[in-house]
């Protein structure tokens, strides 16, 4: 492939900005900003109190600094904490009322918001900067008692559920970024699946950062009541900017008895340019509680974007016989850094967890798997299986694996396997000899390497994710 061609394909496809008028909170992190957010969202008193409590707590917390990727100090007073397209200040009641420019943006991103696209069978909630702009298929879901709406709407319409579960997995005082989120979160999705209901379609949220100098703090809460099932997918993109933008989301999942939640992420925030300028700081807290017996939570993530990715989607296996899974692909190219993995906390009896992590580093990137498997003394007969594979491309990148393993009883078994390989020149030559060019060959080999994780994704997204894997690594092999 010629250099010019490479340049074009390497460009971040989602790097455009949309020019729309925004309503912003004044710059800076203070009580006024929090009140502004709460007020504009017409939140009840208890919600504002909760936020202020988090803000108070934040004053005594420090940003963690044990992670491998270091970043320059973030000036929290120099950020906007709320930015919303003006036209949605009154939330649109139907898709027709949404600013056509926003619809156009989502069309460019390939996100179907228009309900005619029924064939896709995916209900989408779209979050643009700080607000949710549209939720599709709402009526159909409502018939079955499923609640799928923005968290702002849930706070107003389903306060009993929000009060009961918000912060029950990630407490207010958890750690700096989680607490920051609790104070200033703007929007996100809320899902409630009633007992013995299998959600008939994939639920999906699409996050888009558009405005500059804006942090995105979304909050997602998913509750699967007894005997229910839901599969949820989130996708993320942002415009190309030479500043670093902060994204600090909190996601809480709760699975009650015999319930199952499958949560998939395709994260493709702007990664910065090839020199490492710009890009999103993706500092995210994701945690699921398998609260009921026989419950199951499965995290699947494909992390290809962001300048720094720092997240550990975790499972707290409280219910007896509950199951936690973590499937991850983390791809870092150029100067991207990822410090990601999972925590599996075994509390209940006969609990099982499985961790499959595939890290791929290219260019000057650094990729770290960090994970905790903690089997407590009452979690008898529990099992964990962990497999961490790293693939290196070129000789300037790094791959690291730090597993923390704790087993506090004698009836439980923990297995850990890890491999590190370099992409094989002979394999590339072989593929070339079969007519595949370098990019196609890398894509094929890497997709093969990631197969166990890719096959966990819902069908509709697996193809997209495969392409994304290939695009993220373009130009990484000489």
């Amino acid at each position: 492939m010629k250099t010019e061609d490479l340049k074009n394909t390497q460009d971040y496809k989602y790097g455009f900005t949309t020019n729309i008028e925004n309503i912003r909170a004044p710059k800076g992190l203070n009580e006024e900003t929090i009140k502004f957010i709460s007020n504009i969202k017409k939140e009840p008193e208890w919600m504002l109190d909760w936020r202020l409590k988090a803000f108070k707590r934040l004053q005594v917390l420090k940003e963690p600094n044990w992670q491998k990727p270091k970043y320059p100090n973030i000036n929290y007073q120099d950020l906007y904490y709320y930015s919303a397209p003006k036209s949605t200040s009154e939330k649109p009641k139907s898709l027709e009322e949404i600013d056509p420019k926003i619809l156009e943006t989502y069309k460019k991103l390939g996100i179907p918001l228009v309900e005619q696209k029924r064939l896709n069978g995916i209900a989408v909630d779209a979050v643009f900067d700080s607000v949710s702009v549209a939720t599709t298929f709402k009526d159909e879901l409502t018939k079955q008692g499923i609640i799928f709406c923005s968290i702002s709407e849930a706070i107003q319409k389903h306060p009993e559920l929000v009060k009961k579960y918000l912060g029950s997995v990630i407490p207010l005082s958890d750690h700096y970024f989680a607490t920051l989120n609790s104070a200033v979160f703007t929007d996100g999705s809320f899902v409630y699946i009633p007992p013995n209901t299998k959600c008939p379609m994939e639920l999906s949220t699409y996050f888009r950062i558009n405005a500059s100098e804006t942090g995105q703090f979304e909050r997602t809460l998913i509750i699967a009541d007894k005997g229910s099932y839901v599969s949820y997918l989130e996708g993320c993109t942002a415009p190309m900017r030479d500043e670093n933008q902060l994204h600090a989301a909190n996601v809480e999942l709760i699975a009650l008895d015999d319930a199952e939640i499958k949560y998939s992420t395709v994260q493709n925030w702007y990664p910065g340019d090839e020199k490492g300028v710009g890009g999103i700081y993706n500092f995210v807290t994701k945690r699921g509680a398998c609260r009921g017996k026989n419950s199951k939570i499965s995290w699947t993530q494909v992390e290809t974007g962001s300048a720094i990715t720092w997240k550990y989607p975790s499972c707290i296996l409280q219910g007896d016989n509950s199951v936690g899974e973590f499937y991850s692909i983390a791809i870092t190219n150029n100067f991207q850094k990822a410090d990601t993995g999972t925590k599996m906390i075994h509390l209940g009896k006969n609990t099982k967890s499985k961790i499959i992590s595939k890290g791929i580093s290219a260019g000057n990137a650094d990729n770290m798997y960090r994970g905790l498997v903690d089997i407590k003394n009452k979690a008898i007969n529990s099992r964990n299986y962990t497999q961490c594979d790293s693939l290196l491309m070129g000789n300037k990148c790094g791959a690291h694996t730090i597993p923390y393993i704790k087993n506090n009883n004698s009836t439980s078994i923990i297995e850990h396997e890890a491999t590190t390989t370099k992409i094989n020149e002979e394999q590339l030559y072989y593929c070339n000899q079969r007519g595949l060019d370098q990019e196609e060959a890398v894509s094929l080999i890497v997709n093969g390497f990631c197969k166990e994780v890719l096959q966990q994704l819902p069908m509709e997204f697996a193809v997209e994710a495969q392409k994304l894997v290939a695009i993220s690594l373009e130009g990484s092999v000489g």
């Binding site: 394999q427 000899q433 079969r434 007519g435 595949l436 093969g448």
Partner: protein, 244 residues
């Protein structure tokens, strides 16, 4: 079809090929024999365009100079190499690999890419011609295949991609007699007046099943003797030392 003039090759400061000349016409089967280290596999790698070789001289393929063309373009133009040690591609289904490869070649030739259904029909046909079990196609590419299965997979790819020049690099090594026959049948059934074969081998054994039009003896980077099919039989008796 293939005209090699005065080919010299250096890799890692070692002078391997030292002025090799070879002409192959459509419809011909050429065998290259020779002792270990004479440059046989180097010739296969240089023809297919493997990185790392410094070459002098001229390689013309169907009237076009090949020297500076990438490996994949050579493959797309109809050069196929059956590897001595075929590679494994973990996690990639054999069908997917074969389809990706075929469509890359078809696309380069300006032909329409095959959809999955058409491809599956075609590949099942080709596999059954070689007596290859269909189950084999849904396994990961070459992963856990026996030596014989890997070589059969090479021949399957040859028949699928329909190259004009097929280079077989010691495809017979490590094969039992049944697998050897399958490989030979595969070659014989594909052979026609428009394509050609370059068969690299140590032994006469394969040439009992695939009758070559010419046998060349490669020694110390040059072709030192060329003859017809009888030369192989003669070498079997006298060995290579009698020629040098």
């Amino acid at each position: 079809m293939l005209n090699i003039k005065n080919l010299e090759t250096i890799i890692d400061n070692k002078h391997i090929l030292k002025g090799l000349n070879l002409n192959i016409k459509p419809g011909e089967v050429h065998a290259i024999m020779g002792p270990n280290g004479s440059g046989k596999s180097t010739l296969a790698n240089v023809l297919s365009g493997k990185n790392g070789y410094i070459t002098k001289g001229d390689i013309q393929f169907n009237g076009e100079r090949l020297n500076d063309i990438s490996t994949e373009e050579r493959a797309q133009k109809g050069i196929f190499l059956a590897f001595q040690y075929p590679l494994e591609i973990p996690g990639v289904n054999t069908n997917i690999f074969l389809k990706t490869s075929l469509n890359a070649v078809r696309k380069a030739k300006g032909e329409k890419e095959l959809d999955t259904l058409t491809f599956l029909k075609l590949i099942k046909e080709k596999a059954s011609e070689l007596g290859i079990d269909e189950k084999f196609l849904s396994r990961q590419f070459n992963v856990g295949f026996s030596g014989g299965e890997k070589k059969k997979n090479e021949i399957l790819q040859m028949k699928l991609l329909e190259p004009t020049l097929s280079i077989l690099d010691e495809t017979d090594s490590g094969l039992d007699i049944d697998a050897l026959k399958i490989v030979a049948d595969g070659v014989n059934s594909y052979k026609n007046k428009d394509n050609a074969f370059l068969i690299i081998t140590h032994y006469q054994r394969l040439l009992d099943y695939i009758k070559p039009d010419f046998i060349h003896v490669l020694s110390n980077g040059k072709i030192v003797k060329t003859g017809d099919a009888n030369l192989g039989l003669q070498l079997e008796k006298t060995g290579y030392t009698s020629l040098s």
